[in-house]
């Protein structure tokens, strides 16, 4: 089983997931195993087939550009679940470095 075929550290970085060394080993093996099952798809001829993103015919949906307070959250409601807020905003750790 090709457990080393997936660079699990790279994938975890893309997914913004911190993994322990144990998790890297476990998920690496499990993903390798699953991808071997998934490889069976290569046997299916899809050369002339369009991709399906939605099975039910759909079209772009637009609506009138008007205020609908009944389906809008107040600022208070929008912030009620926030881990940290300041003067009506979400507060996060510093993104831009202190220098420059």
């Amino acid at each position: 089983m090709p457990t080393d075929r997936i660079d699990i550290r790279h994938v975890a970085t893309l997914a913004r997931l911190a993994l322990t060394e144990d998790e890297i080993a476990t998920y690496g093996a499990q993903l390798g195993n699953l991808m071997t099952h998934v490889d069976a798809l290569a046997n299916l001829d899809t050369a002339e087939v369009p991709a399906t993103a939605q099975v039910v015919p759909s079209r772009n949906v637009q609506r009138a550009d008007v205020l609908r307070p009944e389906t809008s959250l107040t600022r208070e409601a929008a912030l009620q679940n926030a881990p940290d807020t300041v003067v009506g905003y979400f507060r996060v750790p510093r993104i831009i470095g202190e220098e420059g």
Partner: protein
């Protein structure tokens, strides 16, 4: 009228006729549910005050002359659907303390129709799983054998209805999350056509597959619920804008003229002998009711699982990117914002959710997109085309809902063996078809002591809910399998 055992149809009839008050129903249910649920664990949260408040409103409306389709009917809601003011957790630590600031459309329609909310039910974390064992917040037991799982991901909603802790409940189905637990819990579980029920207020897992649907103890109750929650909703851009045909008053009693497709590739050969005998008997019963059995082919169905385990995790990895510790949910501090994201998600998500995020991220990552995600979307087209060809020869496709009855806790330690539980339901989901599971018998599983229910999966072409429910109703009325089993007696505390 018995508010615990009766159907939604008879409860609503009694309340509308003023023979029973919604307030009495609420007062009967509240102590009953808290007693039974100490054993079953179907609920993550009970909402007795909300239930009483809705009961008062229903009684007022009925007194004022209104007739409500679900007047006084006790309902349970899967905890991935928002209900204003209640905790809505998706079974995850990352949302353990999240309080919904708005209500999902399906829930709002249910309550506007007179239903009484008992509480929010347990689920596999973010609806990812087939046993409810992936919940980070509680254990739910099968009402027919407490040592077995209720199925999943909507395991709490199925156990609540199967264990007579609710008359109806809402679940969501992405690859089988309504149909498999319905089969395990001796009830009807119905997944409408993709887009038929609004997903507004449903915490997203795989947006091109997720669909809300009802659990009930009869097909007629499931149809009644669907008629209430279905239909276009401008708040969900994928909600289908076409008229909803009412189904509850169009149920049939026989199957004369119905062609039932039996899928060649879904041969019953690999099933346990007793399970196989049960499905053979079910097919024979369909024939006795006047249906004609025809063999149909779904040559690409064998690729269903591989297709699903690319499409669903890919969409999951994208949807769950929103859980970053900024606007809601858990936050674990870090030296900078990137470290905060990584630590928050590491602490907040359970193993199955992490696995699927990793699979999806990998399948969408640069250099692999064409080989995996795009290939899976093409396979999905072929699967949908297979079904369309099969439906030229039949009106409905019948198959097992799952290959075994409910299994014991910790029985599926390998993720792929758990994924295989959805072998029959996944191709139907990929094609977006309306589908349900209806009880079709029971077997005593190896190592078990009690007969455990099995479900017959029925699926019909897109937007033919009325035909599907009609066929299921005829089968249910003729066979009455659900009535032959009783849940485990729960002793008084």
């Amino acid at each position: 009228m018995d508010p615990i055992k009766d159907t939604a149809v008879s409860i609503a009839r009694a309340v509308n006729a003023k023979e029973a008050a919604a307030a009495e129903i609420a007062e009967a249910l509240i102590p009953h549910v808290s007693r039974v649920d100490a054993q079953l664990g179907a609920y993550l949260q009970l909402t007795p005050e909300l239930m009483r408040e809705h009961a008062r409103r229903v009684d007022e409306r009925v007194r004022a002359g209104e007739t409500l389709p679900l007047a006084g009917v006790p309902v349970a809601i899967k905890d991935n659907m928002c209900l204003t003011g209640t905790r809505t957790t998706a079974g995850s630590k990352i949302l353990e303390h999240f309080v919904a600031p708005y209500t999902a459309t399906a829930v709002q329609r249910l309550l506007a129709a007179g239903a009484l909310p008992i509480g929010k039910t347990n689920l596999d974390e973010f609806a990812m799983g087939s046993s409810c064992e992936n919940s980070a917040l509680g254990v739910t037991r099968n009402p027919y054998d407490l040592d077995r799982v209720p199925g999943g991901s909507s395991g709490g909603s199925a156990a609540a209805v199967g264990g007579f802790e609710a008359t109806l409940s809402l679940g969501s189905d992405t690859g089988g999350s309504i149909r498999e637990p319905a089969a395990f819990c001796n009830i009807v579980g119905f997944k409408p056509t993709y887009g038929r029920v609004s997903r507004y207020g449903l915490i997203a897992f795989a947006s091109s597959l997720d669909q809300i649907g009802p659990f009930a103890r009869t097909v007629e109750d499931a149809a009644l619920t669907y008629d209430v929650i279905g239909g276009h909703d401008p708040l969900d851009a994928t909600s289908v804008d076409r008229p909803l045909e009412p189904t509850a008053h169009a149920l049939r009693e026989d199957l004369r003229g119905v062609r039932v497709g039996i899928v060649k590739e879904f041969g019953l050969g690999q099933l346990d002998a007793n399970v196989r005998a049960c499905y053979e008997a079910a097919y024979a019963d369909l024939e006795k009711l006047g249906a004609e059995l025809v063999e149909v082919e779904l040559p690409t169905a064998e690729y269903g699982l591989a297709t699903y385990y690319l499409v669903a995790p890919a969409e999951c990895s994208s949807n769950l990117a929103r859980f970053d510790g900024v606007r809601y949910g858990l936050r674990v501090d870090g030296a900078d914002v990137g470290e905060m994201y990584e630590k928050t998600r590491a602490a907040g998500f359970g193993p199955e959710v992490k696995r699927r995020i990793l699979i999806g991220t990998y399948a969408l990552s640069s250099g692999y997109y064409d080989a995996y995600y795009l290939k899976a979307q093409k396979a999905r087209t072929k699967i949908a085309e297979d079904f369309a060809r099969a439906f030229a020869r039949c009106d409905v496709i019948a198959s097992p809902a799952a290959s075994t009855p409910a299994f014991g806790f910790n029985a599926k330690s390998d993720p792929v063996s758990m994924y295989l539980m959805d072998y029959y339901t996944i191709p139907v989901s990929l094609a977006g078809l309306p589908s349900l599971s209806v009880p079709c018998g029971a077997v005593v599983p190896e190592g078990g002591t009690r007969p455990m229910p099995l479900g017959l999966q029925l699926a019909t072409p897109l937007f033919t809910e009325r035909s599907l429910l009609g066929i299921a109703h005829a089968y249910e009325r003729a066979t009455r399998h659900a009535e032959k089993l009783s849940p485990v007696e729960i002793a008084a505390a």
